[in-house]
Every structure is written in structure tokens, then in C-alpha cells.
Symmetry: C2
Subunit: 185 residues, 2 copies
DNA sequence: TCACAAGCAGAACCATCATTCTTTTTACGG
DNA sequence: CCGTAAAAAGAATGATGGTTCTGCTTGTGA
């Protein structure tokens, strides 16, 4: 039964999702049509439906893809050999913010206020990221500040919470203050 | 030239904007039709266009209205007789967050990533609010902590910045974690 | 109280998509 | 290499929803 190999299929999905993110960043979730995404991705409208059930599904897919990628970037910066102190950690995180992703990230928050599926994706990603920060801060407290592991975890929780909040605010700042880059016509 | 007196006219605009905010909170900016707003406000679609040029204009109006109201609430809580310390200030601000406004607020951020007019409304409101926090923290430093006014303002700036960030994150948290209230059918 | 321009209601219009259908092309397993 | 079934293209469809138009109604200033 000849169909696309799994790897190729996943590649196509990513190709579509990436194009979608670029379009979203430019025009917002609801103002980009399937036709826009098809043009940006170089595929036809019909074939998009071979990879995503419908537009809502595509939005969810793009959101998930973007959040996973962001988590990866953060993982790299956060899990350095020597755990950075919270201020340093935050500035690394903010330095890694990509304006395109910031804009779509904020749009995703908005979508999450009404679409339960997107809300779950966003809250899951947020919780996971906060957990990563928690680990990172705990490691810093233990290895650099020489706390005992058990109380360190307790101490780290509110710090991680605050880091997350400041990161989100920075994301918003970038989304609102960065000019939208044009695409070649 | 008989037309509505200014006060009455302003009342109608507010009536429409309020209905719009309720609809937005339930279904999002783009998924509420003019028909929805007309039903919620008790007016007809036609008469909405007598008060707002088009939907984008209505969205801007609703956003502005909401932000002004939020600023007023914050003003009340923030400008107490005895300036509260930053922690206390933050917890008063978060206590004053209304879930409906939180959701529409986040939706407005999203719209701001795409619509320059909304972006200006949002950034202006944000800057104004940050300035209020700055004043409040400065007053606390001077009156309670007995700093000199000049260095106090300097010291207050980053604190106000952080308060603003934490407040925005709390708004997001409320928008995502609060269940959407139904309306009677 | 009156006259009339504005407000208002609701139907009608029309453009814009999401989605589906049909046909052609392509990639995979044998 | 080949046959086949999936994938891709692009036109067709249908619904949705913003905006406008046409009369009726109402509030306002004289």
C-alpha cells in the first residue's frame, strides 16, 4: 500500500506548520486563509487537508510545534554545565526569544481563552517549562549556593514561578514592540 | 438638527461596547459576529453601524473602553492613603482582576500583534499603568521607607517594571485558568 | 406641540473563505 | 521497473458574516 513514508509525512506536516506560523505572525490566526498558507508553503489547498483535518487542527498543530521548539531552545540555554543564577537564566531566556514566535505565541494565548484544546496545549507547555525552570533553579541553589537538596526545591518553587512570569511578560513585550518583517513579493 | 444628545450617544456606544466585551470573552474577537453583538446588546445590526464605522472600529472602541476601566480600578486600589509596599500592591492588583476582562485583555494583546491601531492603544495603556505603579512605589519609598525623593524615583523604576510584568502574567493566568461563564439561553 | 433629521430595525447583498470533489501526478512496495 | 493507491493540484461549492440599503420610528430643538 504505497503512501508517504512516515519521515516524509512528518516533514510535510512541519513544512505546512512552519508556513502557517509565518503567516500567523504577519496577519494573525483568523486573518490568514488556507489559501495564504498554501501559497506560503508552496503546496495546494487540497493537499493541506491531506495532512490536517481542518483549520482548527492546523492551528493546534502549529501551536504545538512552536511550543515544542521553544521548549527545546530553552532547554539548551537553561541546562548549561554550570547552573546559571536566576538573573542570568532570565537574560538567556529573553535573549533567545524570536519575534515571529513571540507574536504567534501571544496569538496562541488568545486562542486558548476560547478553544479548550489549545488551552490544554498552552497550559501543558507552560507547566512543563515552569518545571524545567524549577529544576534549573534547584540545581543552582544546590551546586552554587550549597543548599541541601530538599529545602532547595522548596525555595526554588516561587523563584521559578516568578521567572516564568517575567519570561511571559518579555514575550509579550517582544510581540508588541518588534516591527513585523515583510516578505519578498 | 435633531440627533442624540452627546451623553445619550456615549451611553449607546458604551452599551454596545459592553455587549461586545461579553461576546468576545465567550467566543473571541473574530468568532463573534456583528449579529452576536446585536443580540447581546438588544440593538439591531444596522444601528451598531450608526455608532461604529465598522467591526475593527468597534474592537478598538471596546478595547479602549476596557483598558480605561481597568486603569480606573487600578487607580483606586493603588492610590490608597498610605502607600502599600510592592507585595501588597501586587496582591491588591491581582485581586481586582475580572476574568471576563482578563480574557478580552489577552485577546486584545493578540490583536495588537497585527493591528497597529490596537497596538498603540495597548502600549499606551500599558505605559500609563506602569507610570502609575512607578508613582505609587516612589511614594512608598519616600513616605514609608524614608528615602529622598530623587533617588527614590530611580529605585522605583525597575520595581514598577517588574510589578507590571507580574501583573500581566497574572492576567494571563486568570484568562487561561478561569472557566468561561455561560449566559442564560 | 411639531417637523424633520437622525436613529433604528431588519432584510438584502456580496465577498471571503473553509471545505470538498475531480483529475492528474507521484512515491512506494514488490 | 510497474501497478497502485495515496497525495497533490486546482476548480467548484456552500455557508458565514460584514456591510449596505430601505423604510419606519423617535428624540430634539424651536
Amino acid at each position: 500500500m504505497p503512501r508517504l513514508t512516515d519521515a516524509r509525512r512528518e516533514l510535510r506536516r512541519a513544512q505546512i506548520a512552519d508556513a502557517a506560523v509565518r503567516c500567523f505572525s504577519r496577519n494573525g490566526l483568523e486573518r490568514t486563509s488556507i489559501a495564504d498558507i498554501s501559497a506560503e508553503s508552496g503546496l495546494s489547498t487540497g493537499s493541506i487537508y491531506a495532512h490536517y483535518r481542518n483549520k482548527a487542527d492546523l492551528v493546534r498543530g502549529a501551536a504545538r510545534e512552536m511550543l515544542v521548539r521553544r521548549a527545546d531552545t530553552i532547554g539548551e540555554y537553561a541546562a548549561a554545565d554550570v547552573p546559571p543564577d536566576p538573573d542570568e537564566l532570565l537574560s538567556r531566556l529573553t535573549a533567545a526569544i524570536d519575534p515571529v514566535h513571540a507574536r504567534v505565541g501571544v496569538q496562541t494565548w488568545s486562542e486558548a481563552t476560547t478553544d479548550p484544546a489549545v488551552r490544554d496545549i498552552v497550559t501543558d507547555a507552560t507547566d512543563r517549562m515552569r518545571a524545567m525552570l524549577h529544576d534549573c533553579v534547584t540545581a543552582w541553589l544546590v551546586k552554587v549556593e550549597h543548599h541541601e537538596p530538599a529545602p532547595a526545591r522548596e525555595l526554588a518553587a516561587p523563584i521559578a514561578h516568578r521567572l516564568m512570569a517575567l519570561y511571559q511578560a518579555e514575550l509579550l513585550y517582544t510581540a508588541l514592540r518588534t516591527p513585523i518583517e515583510e516578505t519578498a513579493p
